[in-house]
Symmetry: D2
Subunit: 401 residues, 4 copies
């Protein structure tokens, strides 16, 4: 493999001033992304964790991190410096960086909007789209990519017939608005606003958004690309390499028990069983898709406050080999959620900006590599997703028409 992480420079020649609009701009992932982008720009951090800096992706000539401007919106008002200090205290980011880049963090606060309270969904969405356009104009951007890194929200209630009808098309949504209803789930409002503002969209959470029929149709009409859903940073990442191994070796997976504990804001959100349903659904998808059938075994996500941003996954796999011999694999993944997710956010902004630049619109299945539940693709095996990503790199490099 020629992709060992090195410090060798990667040419990034696509001249494309790119805006990244973070939905949930004050969260841990967003804060780490803002700090990290500043650190890389200042030469204080290397490319570790950034897929977009791997030699294999160099031919895509992605927009440089120098050319990426971060902004977004959040209901939280605490500034980046304060948020970053909290993360440093938890060991998520180095305190030295927070100290060295305090001015950059303070400056970044200027690009975070706190939406005004507005009961009318249509006006709320319009205000958001206006804020995005304003950000676009103020920074003289070539492209804007909206990334949802806000708290996970529950899946759509598909038993609600009126809701399903209201979300069938952009026209139906507007008709529902006319009738005084607010059909869009909260997580879809920013996506709708993004498409109204001509922005590409990354669904980094499992919340309903890019997959809602009306929203997807709006995106198609806007001619922008999108990618999702739900960043693959831990347990599912491991499943996406381990499950193919069992399949290719003809070993029968009898059960796969998945226990996740985490603290932090994400943990708190997932402690709500209704919100967690989106997450457990995307987490289960990979295994079933790779093994080709549902695999028995519990999947729990539990909030354990003292773990903070440290997500620990303990998995137990029971499998059968030749002549019925039963064997086991266990693993424990102790990952820092923000440290794993933040660079992928930057990767996706760069990649989706390049896709938009190259005229791609609609779901970009080749970005499934980054997601638990890839839109536009049924491929969950990481190695196959990696090859698809390299194919996209070839396309962006103009090597494939």
């Amino acid at each position: 493999m020629d992709d060992a992480v090195t410090n060798s420079p990667v040419p990034s020649v696509r001249s494309c001033r790119t805006g990244a609009w973070l939905v949930g701009a004050r969260g841990s992932v967003a804060t780490t992304a803002v700090l990290g982008a500043a650190a890389v720009r200042a030469g204080l951090a290397g490319p570790v964790g950034l897929v977009s800096e791997l030699p294999s992706l160099a031919p895509a000539a992605l927009p440089s991190l120098e050319d990426v401007v971060l902004g977004g919106h959040d209901v939280v008002v605490t500034g980046y410096r304060k948020r970053a200090e909290v993360l440093a205290a938890q060991g998520v980011v180095p305190r030295d960086l927070v100290v060295a880049l305090g001015a950059e963090l303070d400056a970044a606060d200027a690009d975070v909007v706190v939406p005004a309270a507005e009961p009318d969904q249509r006006r709320r969405v319009a205000a958001l789209a206006a804020a995005m356009r304003d950000f676009h104009g103020r920074h003289d951007l070539d492209r804007l990519v909206v990334v949802d890194v806000s708290s996970t929200q529950p899946p759509l209630d598909t038993d609600d017939a009126e809701l399903v009808t209201d979300l069938a098309s952009p026209e139906a949504v507007r008709a529902a608005w006319d009738a005084g209803r607010s059909p869009l789930p909260a997580s879809a409002e920013a996506v709708w606003a993004a498409y109204e503002a001509g922005a590409a969209v990354v669904a980094f959470t499992p919340s309903p958004g890019v997959g809602v029929p009306a929203v997807a149709e709006l995106g198609r009409r806007a001619g922008v690309p999108w990618a999702g859903a739900d960043g693959k940073t831990g347990e599912t990442l491991l499943k996406s390499v381990l499950a193919p191994m069992f399949v290719q070796r003809a070993l029968h997976v009898d059960s796969w028990s998945s226990f996740n504990i985490l603290g932090g804001g994400d943990g708190q959100a997932l402690a709500d069983p209704v919100a967690a349903r989106s997450k457990t659904a995307t987490k289960a998808a990979a295994l079933e898709a790779i093994v080709g059938r549902p695999v028995p075994g519990p999947l729990h996500i539990d909030y354990v406050a003292d773990l903070g941003d440290w997500k620990t996954a303990m998995n137990h796999v029971g499998f059968t080999g030749f002549l019925g011999t039963r064997m086991q694999l266990q693993f424990t993944w102790q990952g820092c959620d923000s440290a794993l997710a933040a660079p992928l956010v930057l990767d996706l902004v760069r990649l989706l900006a390049a896709c938009a630049d190259a005229g791609r619109s609609g779901a970009v299945p080749e970005l499934g590599f980054f997601f638990k539940d890839p839109v536009g693709s049924h491929e969950h095996a990481l190695a196959e997703q990696w090859h698809a990503l390299l194919g996209l790199v070839d396309e962006l490099a103009g090597r494939r028409p």
Copy 2:
């Protein structure tokens, strides 16, 4: 992935009576292979564990297990039924199978040769080649594949200048014999004999054999294919999917600590630090090749008698992500060595027979999927090896000239 293990029949149409000559024919792996092949033939065992029965390999039209005859040689004289009963007591194979297939096991004893004591290496090798030819003739075989599943032996002493000279070519070996020396390492004698007998060779252990220059040259002259080395059944199998994951995600592997405990004959052999050197060398190769640099961390193999054939690997990986955040992955693999290795032996016999049938000679790098230290290839990532294997299937299917 469309390779979920199913019970659907796979067409095996290559009519090719194939002999499998097992070096170390009384060992656990060989005994499990003999029992397992009989069980599959009798319809008492399914395809689980057999890569060659996966739908993806069907186009290769491999010789059917019905057409595979197992024999070999060993210094041990205990019969298969007795050996299988011991394995059943350890939970390695089901006792029901041993009872049901007692007659088949007894019959298989007839094809195991105990070599006569013979101090002269040239004569020892010649006697072995004669035994192989006899087996070939007696069973009216189309092909013979010799598989080394004997105890691991130490690597060549490359500081021994005379030895290196003696092993430089077939002629040098013969000249050494003329001079009364025995240059071939014990593990290479059977390979030499195999090539003399026109057989293909699978090096399922890390012992020196197919890679010895004189031996490789003899193989080339014989026009037969070979594959190796050292079956990949546990810790290294996991490394070959986990290490690419770290690389493709741009995560920096700081250390990888590998602790292996196992009992049984293999464990006893590896308790000898000199013999273990072959094994630790092949085990280390994968990680370094995939990560692109040596990775710090101990690699121990320890003999723990009570584990029997159950090989337990405990690994600890320290890695760094974005902005220097340090994280950990641990895994424990509790595998049954024979249950994992035996079906691969049958897979390799079928695949190498098909390769021979298709006119392939020399090292077959596309079989690297099965090995810790693939001959003729520097690729260690399992997913890439799987694609190479599928390419070989295409070739065998006549879809690629």
Copy 3:
């Protein structure tokens, strides 16, 4: 420690023909106990797993296993030989023992009663007491100990005021019967019958029984001893040694996450969240009692069919040391439930018979060593429970009046 497991004989001089009446006599634990007792008597199994055979317990002069007769009742009719063969196939017990002791297993079937269907609780209980008395008489027993090893049942509904009133005293129970109600929970019927028959009782499950006020009062009036509740064989056993370690070292346990997966009958029963409530309550008790406060962290018990009788507990402990440094302990316990529980059942029968013989009545807190939720004691630390057990041994040895 002078209690290393040895094969040295332990004097058992208390002449006391003891009956063991197993509630759930056909379950895995009961079957393993019946097979195991026969194996020890026949000299085919050693004392491993039997606490009552440790040198430290010799002074108690417990009734010999030779003098223990096993019987009981169950709705299941499958014979012991068949049940034992199933356990052997799962690796829970050695098949050789099942073959060698087939006659003994068949003979044991004669002492298992299948209760006739009887809708009236009073008559059901009376019939059970009669069956116990019959067993007592038929085998000319000195003592009878009833052991509940049946499926776990849900805790009492303490919100049901009428039920609480009905269970307040033996008289209240009888009045409820007169009024046509069936106040006793199913798990308490056998305990009631036991006390009616003058038998001692071991509550090896967390089901409501010995702790129900009316039942406890009946036991006190019967003057018999009892012990419970819920055999401590795995995760809680570990907690009862690890938690004191943290406390004695002044380390602060921040969270303790407990994940249990198991198959088998017990697993199926616990897959019912209502029944599982009894179990999770007893499991949580130990940790809180030892640490002195509730410890955050999830506690899951999940049914994973392929594990069979193999109970796997994966625990993650987050703890804080000096100056706030955060650390972790993880463990995985892979135990065979029946192999762990069955010898404790035999231990408890012998110990409780000796207690009865020595005139003890009421709860025996010194037997807390064996239980997750010791009746009559708030001590959960295993080492302290061990000392209490040794104190009981002293008492039984007549060394303490």
Copy 4:
């Protein structure tokens, strides 16, 4: 258990100005102890990790941490503030404490002596004793306790007959000095000096010292108490609670495989196989003593640089239960060496000072609770050691004459 860690104040009334002389005063453990003592005194850190602050130890009326003065010697000259900053960067201690207590750290440097190069052992020892007396006098101490927290050194070469003779008595040591030899191992020099200076000694490492015959005799003549050897902070701590559990439950431990990885200075010292021999010897002692026989299984200690002060122990225990059923326990301990060891150093200084105050001399076996290889005791089970410690508390409280 009434020893839950709380913040309730513990009375410490023994008026006893106590000096702690740290051998290896600049190491991680010593630095953490100096910082931690200052933090507790300043009310910036609580009692977590300090056994001496548990309610159970209050009756001993140990000297208050207010009354403990830390000093010592080391060849390293880097000041405490700098050392503490490095530890903070590794997450071993909180940076806030280092900042807040910078002045106290700088002040502590005044009490650290860098010994002058001196080839003559007698003079080297005399200079050390003089430095200790000077420290004693300067701070007007009532008691001095010398604690060895320096790098682990190899065990004595008992095959060296002259050395054994030289170390047989204080007189023999002095005769050897007269003859120009330097018989004391480096680690024993400070112990000798301590006894010369009338100080008590804590052997926190496994290096030869308090156990050397001549040294022990000198200590007896000095009438001071000592304790050791080798602080029990991780793997062995766990063994000392888990092994008794197996024994008391009559479970047969078949194998115990112990894999330790650590970075830092301690890791580097132990990467030297000769020095490591002291450590592996003390580590093996506990298990054999508790189980009552040698337990098979490897014991490795490997240096893995990126782990820093984080000591990770991965253990695999194979054990047999009733009827021969084989089961497994695995655990992973991820501890911070300094955070675990430093408070024990402070505990031992307070306890040993109180022992001296109470007139104890010679080895104090009741302090075995803190050590891997307790001097003067064969008890390794933590719970028994805890009871012995409580007995010592009773004695110090004047409740036992």
